[in-house]
């Protein structure tokens, strides 16, 4: 089974990537390529919606961390939502994910993003 990636750029400062299937050695390069395209838009945050992601390997983790690192450098954030238990476990083992970047539901995530936008507007004022 392969990886599916759906990019949603309807809310400009944010880029949502919905992942499905398996993110492993063979599919990770495709995600990295897609992420590079997304980063070119200089978003405030990149959101990974992992609702349909069934499996993630260390190669997949690396692709996520790489995105995170790039966003940190640009003062942005990588946020994750709808993480399935099997995937959650892998992230837990590696323990390299800041707790505040993982959301249990879309509502929580949207609240956070609203707050983030307000904050950005205030800074720009």
């Amino acid at each position: 089974m392969s990886l599916t990636i759906d990019v949603d750029a309807s809310q400009p400062p944010f880029q949502r990537l919905s992942l499905g299937g398996r993110l492993d050695t063979t599919t990770a390069p495709a995600l990295e390529k897609k992420v590079d395209e997304v980063l070119a838009a200089k978003p405030l945050a990149v959101v990974f919606d992992l609702a349909a992601l069934e499996y993630i390997s260390s190669a997949g983790l690396r692709a996520i961390f790489r995105t995170q690192k790039a966003m940190h450098t640009a003062n942005g954030e990588v946020l994750m939502v709808n993480m399935q238990p099997a995937v959650q476990k892998v992230f837990d083992i590696v323990k390299a994910l800041p707790l505040k970047s993982v959301f249990r539901s879309i509502e929580e995530l949207d609240d956070y993003l609203d707050a983030m936008q307000r904050k950005a507007r205030e800074e720009n004022r």
Binding site: S58, F65, R66, K69, V94, A96
Partner: protein, 643 residues
């Protein structure tokens, strides 16, 4: 029968055409030949008919002389005897065909009651002599003399059969005699003789060498024959003389058939040494009821037809030969390129790619030839590309094999034990998913009596993982002896690995330090799988470690230290997720439960057996499914301070 393409064209197209054409032509010629033969037979039959009617006409002329005289005598009964001699002389002179003439009286009709028959005949010197044959003892009323009896019996003129005239001239002759009556009573007969040998010059002026003429009388005697000696001879005698009974049969058949019309029959000839087959054309000579025959060699009759047949046969053969030669050469022209293609295809199949087929024109075969040549060329190119590709791949594989060997040589032996005191033994197994991998293990005994051991798993697999593994392993080797605890080692490694790590490669790693004298164990983990403690009695304990993040991701992170105390005989199993996430063909993972079961089975075994047992369990679970990740297993067993 197996035919090649050309053979098939010839057999299924050319042969039927030749046969039909040849057959039709042959039929036409045979029809023509048959027509010619029929025409020739008609010609010859007509000739025989003509000859027969000419002979008949002459004989009628001769007979007319006798009939006229008989009429005269009937009208002039009292004629003087001397006048009668004049009459017979005149009768001989009347026609060159007449040899002799007579007026024979019945003895009962003469005044003296004696035979009286004035007779005139030709002499050898061309003159005439006259006599009374009745007075010379010639009893013409004797039964053998047909010329006397036949007209009287028939009450009209009649021809005799051929007979030998012994009285006058000793010559074979036939006589016509006409009766002359007086008041209904026949007084005598008037005769005219025809010397049969004279017929040749008198009638048959046309007789040619090829047309042997003969005439058969009703008494089956030869009235006329090509050979004068045979004239008057019975057919039976001739047949006997020649030893050919069929000649008699032949004559009889002609006598039987002729009254119904002219015709022909066939027989083997008898007067030439070859005895060639002859055709006999016959026709009735009406007045004397003779049969006239013409014997002609078959070759003479049909010679022209035969010649024409031969010419036609030659023409047909020549035409067919030309057609066949044409077809053969045309089929060769058509099939030769196919044969060349066939040969070329065989050569290509045998591995000889250097084929170039001549292809003139733009028909299907020429296009096929060009395509084939192009195909062979493409095949050569493809093969060369394949060879080059294979060479390149072999080079990479060789390099990978060398790299694998090198990587393996960086790791300590897969089995070790405490030779001096027997306090521990160690066993390890490592199986990369690809030629090289990112897993590694290590162990070392420090100067202060600690066994430090490590199992690590670099993110991803293959060459990138291997390169990062070398970096991490080298780092660990250089740092481990100098640092007091696993926490410090992990923190130091993490800081070093975070630097210059754009691709976010990371390592999960678990490190233990076992005081060999006391069994005190210090553990630290960077995002790695937990360790399993296997007690001698088979009890299993997952050792709690407060995990830090994987190495290489987050700088300046502390790694908590967990402390445990081992009982003598306890074993520790450290592994990478290649073990728990080994998938079988149904994509089921090996999991911790199966690991526990495998460990329990070998709870009391030496480190080597325990390691091998777990590894074999994983192997049999996977059972040939593709290995998805590097697999590493390290087993440490502590036997106590002193074994």
């Amino acid at each position: 029968m197996r035919l090649n393409l050309r053979g098939k064209i010839l057999a299924y197209v050319a042969l039927p055409v030749v046969l039909i054409l040849g057959g039709a032509e042959l039929y036409r010629v045979l029809q023509l030949y048959d027509g010619l033969k029929q025409a020739r037979i008609r010609d010859e039959t007509e000739r025989a008919t003509r000859e027969a009617s000419e002979l008949d006409a002459r004989l009628r002329e001769v007979a007319r002389i006798a009939k006229d005289t008989a009429m005269f005598l009937e009208l002039n009964p009292g004629i003087e005897r001397a006048r009668l001699f004049d009459l017979v002389r005149n009768n001989v002179r009347a026609d060159p065909l007449v040899y002799g003439a007579a007026i024979a009286f019945s003895p009962s009709a003469t005044p003296d009651g004696r035979r009286f028959a004035p007779y005139a005949s030709r002499t050898a010197d061309g003159g005439l002599r006259t006599m009374d044959i009745g007075s010379q003892g010639y009893d013409y009323t004797a039964p053998q003399w047909q010329w006397w009896h036949r007209p009287l019996e028939r009450r009209g003129g009649a021809w005799t059969d051929a007979y030998l005239d012994e009285g006058a001239g000793n010559i074979m002759m036939a006589t016509f005699s006409a009766p002359f009556p007086q008041q209904g009573v026949p007084l005598g007969v008037v005769t005219v003789d025809v010397a049969l040998p004279n017929l040749r010059k008198q009638v048959f002026d046309v007789e040619a060498e090829q047309h042997k003429m003969f005439v058969i009388g009703a008494d089956e005697r030869m009235v006329f024959a090509h050979d004068s000696a045979d004239i008057g001879t019975p057919l039976e005698a001739i047949a006997q003389k020649l030893g050919r009974p069929d000649i008699l049969e032949l004559g009889r058949r002609m006598l039987r058939m002729a009254p119904r019309g002219a015709g022909h029959t066939a027989a083997r000839g008898w007067d030439s040494p070859q005895q060639e087959e002859q055709l006999m054309f016959y026709a009735q000579v009406e007045s004397p009821k003779w049969v006239l025959g013409l014997r002609v060699d078959e070759s003479a009759v049909f010679g022209a037809a035969h010649a024409q047949l031969r010419r036609a046969a030659f023409a047909i053969s020549a035409a067919l030969f030309v057609i066949i030669v044409g077809l053969v050469s045309v089929t060769r022209r058509v099939t030769e390129p196919i044969a060349r293609l066939d040969a070329a295809a065989r050569r290509v199949a045998a591995g000889d790619m250097a084929v170039a087929l001549p292809a003139e024109g733009d028909d299907e075969i020429a296009r096929l030839s060009r395509t084939f040549t192009d195909m062979a060329r493409a095949l050569v190119e493809r093969e060369q590309a394949l060879v080059a590709e294979t060479a390149a791949r072999e080079k990479i594989e060789t390099e990978l094999a060398l790299a694998k060997e090198l990587q393996r040589s960086m790791l300590p032996p897969s089995e070790a034990h405490d030779a001096a005191f027997g306090r521990y033994d160690v066993a390890a197994a490592l199986e990369p998913a690809r030629a090289v991998g990112g897993d590694f293990f290590d162990y070392v005994v420090t100067a202060d009596g600690r066994l430090i051991f490590v199992v690590a798993d670099v993110s991803d697999k293959g060459v990138p993982a291997a390169l990062f593994m070398v970096r991490a392993h080298t780092l660990m080797r250089s740092l481990a002896p100098r640092l007091a605890s696993p926490s410090e080692l992990l923190a130091a490694m993490n800081d070093a690995l975070c630097a210059d790590n754009e691709r976010c490669m990371f390592v999960t790693l678990v490190c233990g330090a076992l005081e060999l004298a006391s069994g005190r164990l210090a553990l630290a983990s960077a995002g790695h799988e937990p360790c399993l403690r296997v007690r001698r009695d088979g009890a299993l304990v997952w050792l709690d470690v407060d995990n830090g993040p994987a190495l290489g991701l987050i700088e300046a992170t502390p790694y908590p230290l967990a402390e445990h105390r081992l009982e003598p005989g306890d074993a520790l199993i450290l592994y990478t997720d290649g073990i728990t996430e080994a998938f079988d063909a149904q994509k089921r993972a090996f999991g911790r439960e199966r690991l526990e079961a495998a460990a329990r089975d070998q709870a009391q075994a030496a480190a080597l057996e325990l390691c091998a047992g777990v590894f074999a369990s994983v192997r049999s679970f996977v059972a040939g499914a593709e290995q998805s990740d590097d697999i590493t297993l390290l087993v440490v067993r502590w036997h106590g301070a002193r074994a």
